[in-house]
């Protein structure tokens, strides 16, 4: 356990070095958030019918997406992918720790560090600085707790996906394909593009079953109060089941992948 803990800590410290990039990122995120909020406001102007997500909730949802953007598994761990590509994965096999666990720990740091850098300023601005009609609202204590739990669930789920992308490298080698395809899938099915509740009703069942809703949509809906905090257990179970499925599947694939690896002496 200690090895994994120090792995997370080392990666966190390393990734927190890039502060200038984070600042530029925050500016970009704010701009994107404003654009999305204004488009949604214009759409809501067209109708008086009650929607599955009220306008203030939709606005909050957009900001949550911007704040938690970096937590989503947009790509694999580039360094691990490089290890597999150039064969240095052999060194990883010499370490006296479980390889899947080691990569999972790396993924946790990879997702958590930039999220902390992004989320804190975006939350501060969206909650306290932006004018009323653009702002994110603070939820009830129950909602906040449910959001927190679902966010942890989302992080664990996302890291299982990251690991799966790493492992796919044993077969695809280049990794270009998966690293390009995943963002498209995630942006649509996690709610980053359009809040999932606003998709047509017939699509809702599918969106609910897919694992991607658990990455962003679930925590956001607890924060804006579209889901009651008492429902959190149902959604946590859903995230957890998917995480277990992906971890077990990933471990199995890793074993098969390692069996194929041929290490050249040198």
């Amino acid at each position: 356990m200690k090895a994994y803990r120090s792995m997370v800590k080392m990666r966190l410290l390393l990734l927190l070095q890039y502060r200038a990039a984070a600042l530029a990122g925050i500016a970009t995120q704010l701009m994107w958030g404003f654009l999305k909020v204004m488009v949604l406001q214009a759409f809501y102007l067209a109708t008086n019918e009650p929607q599955p997500l009220a306008l203030e909730q939709a606005v909050g949802y957009v900001w949550l997406g911007q704040a938690m953007l970096r937590m989503l598994p947009w790509d694999g761990d580039l360094e691990v992918q490089e290890l597999i590509r150039n064969g240095n994965v052999a060194y990883e096999l010499c370490r006296p720790v479980d390889l899947y666990g080691l990569w999972y720990a790396r993924a946790l740091a990879l997702r958590a560090a930039p999220t902390i850098l992004r989320a804190v300023p975006v939350f501060a601005l969206a909650l306290y600085v932006l004018p009323e009609s653009y702002a994110l609202r603070m939820p009830s204590a129950g909602g906040l707790l449910a959001w927190l739990l679902a966010t942890v669930g989302a992080l664990l789920l996302g890291c299982a996906m990251t690991n799966l992308m790493n492992i796919s490298m044993f077969w695809t080698i280049s990794g270009e394909g998966i690293n390009r395809l995943m963002p498209a899938v995630i942006v649509v099915f996690s709610g980053m593009l359009v809040p999932l509740p606003l998709f047509p009703d017939w699509a809702q069942r599918v969106l609910e079953i897919l694992p991607f809703a658990g990455l962003m949509d679930t925590p956001a809906r607890f924060f804006v109060g579209q889901l009651a905090p008492s429902e959190v257990w149902v959604f946590l179970t859903r995230q957890f089941v998917w995480t277990v499925v992906l971890v077990v599947g990933g471990r199995w694939l890793l074993r098969r992948g390692l069996r194929r690896v041929v290490v050249q002496g040198g």
Binding site: A20, A21, L23, A24, G25, A27, T28, M31, W32, F34, L35, M38, V39, L40, Q41, A42, F43, Y44, L45, A46, T47, Q51, G177, R180, L181, P183, A184, V187, V188, L193, V194, L198, F199, P200
Partner: protein
């Protein structure tokens, strides 16, 4: 005297012809290298098409729920969307050299460009012409065509020409932004993503009618970066919509030229930047 002037003119013409020929050579080389792996090229293009089409999926999904965007219809929005995406795809493909220039500057390779007896702009343009951007272009064109067909008005040839002119104007405008981004790299090779706010952010902003935005936001994209001049203003000569009333006709027809003007200003800044370039010295 007469003969001398004619000689000078001839020399100038030949130099210009040479530049064009050289550029075409560069492009040809770039094409050949990209088509060297046809399967890979095809997949990249399909990927580009899918990833960029997602933006329209979002608009379509929201239209099925809300029916209209403020009081704009889906075909009208499709025209805005198609125009800005085709324009951006052309800029992305053609001005790609400026987009990746910071790598050259960081490595000190820009010296090589300065040493050759040709204009820097020509050489940077020739670095790469990214063919796979045809994916974004194709989906933009399809959406634009669908929008025009379903507008419910028959376009005159002149109006069609205005749309094409606006797309070209838009492409020049986005190229100008790529040139600015490259110029910035002479001073700093970090944090260049800030420019994304104007490029990718500009596409995102202009793919729906910009009249729906907040006052200050609209002003930024009209005055600072004249994005409105390449879609909202020229489309006032074509689309019927209350928010487009009051735009004088001559302005609608001339506004795509703002893209050209913007690009020329960016080129001036580029030349200023080149004079201040300092190599890494390695």
């Amino acid at each position: 005297m007469q003969g001398q002037r004619a000689w000078a003119r001839l020399k100038y013409q030949r130099a210009a012809m040479g530049s064009i020929r050289l550029y075409l050579r560069f492009i040809g080389m770039s094409f050949r290298s990209q088509l060297q792996y046809p399967a890979s090229f095809l997949m990249m293009t399909m990927g580009n098409l899918t990833v960029t089409s997602i933006e329209f999926l979002a608009i379509w999904a929201l239209f099925t729920r809300f029916g209209s965007l403020q009081d704009w219809t889906l075909p009208q929005v499709a025209v805005f969307y198609g125009m800005v995406h085709t324009a951006f795809a052309m800029a992305e493909a053609g001005a790609r050299g400026f987009d990746i220039l910071h790598r050259w500057v960081r490595a000190g390779d820009f010296d090589r460009i300065l040493l050759r007896p040709r204009s820097t702009v020509l050489q940077v343009l020739g670095l790469e012409f990214q063919l796979m951007r045809v994916g974004r272009f194709a989906q933009g064109l399809v959406v634009l065509g669908w929008g025009i067909r379903n507008l419910g008005i028959a376009l005159t040839p002149m109006q069609l020409l205005l749309i094409i002119g606006s797309i070209c104007g838009g492409s020049l405008l986005f190229s100008g932004l790529f040139i600015l981004q490259a110029t910035l790299s002479f001073w700093s090779v970090e944090s260049l993503e800030v420019v994304n706010v104007a490029t990718y952010g500009g596409v995102e902003a202009a793919q729906v009618p910009m009249s729906i935005y907040n006052e200050w936001f609209r002003r930024f994209f009209t005055v600072v970066i004249p994005l409105a001049a390449i879609n909202l203003v020229p489309l006032s000569a074509i689309l019927e919509h209350p928010s487009l009333q009051g735009v004088p006709g001559w302005l609608a027809w001339l506004s795509p030229l703002a893209g050209l003007a913007f690009c020329l200003v960016c080129l001036k800044i580029w030349h200023f930047g080149v004079r201040h370039y300092r190599s890494t010295g390695s």
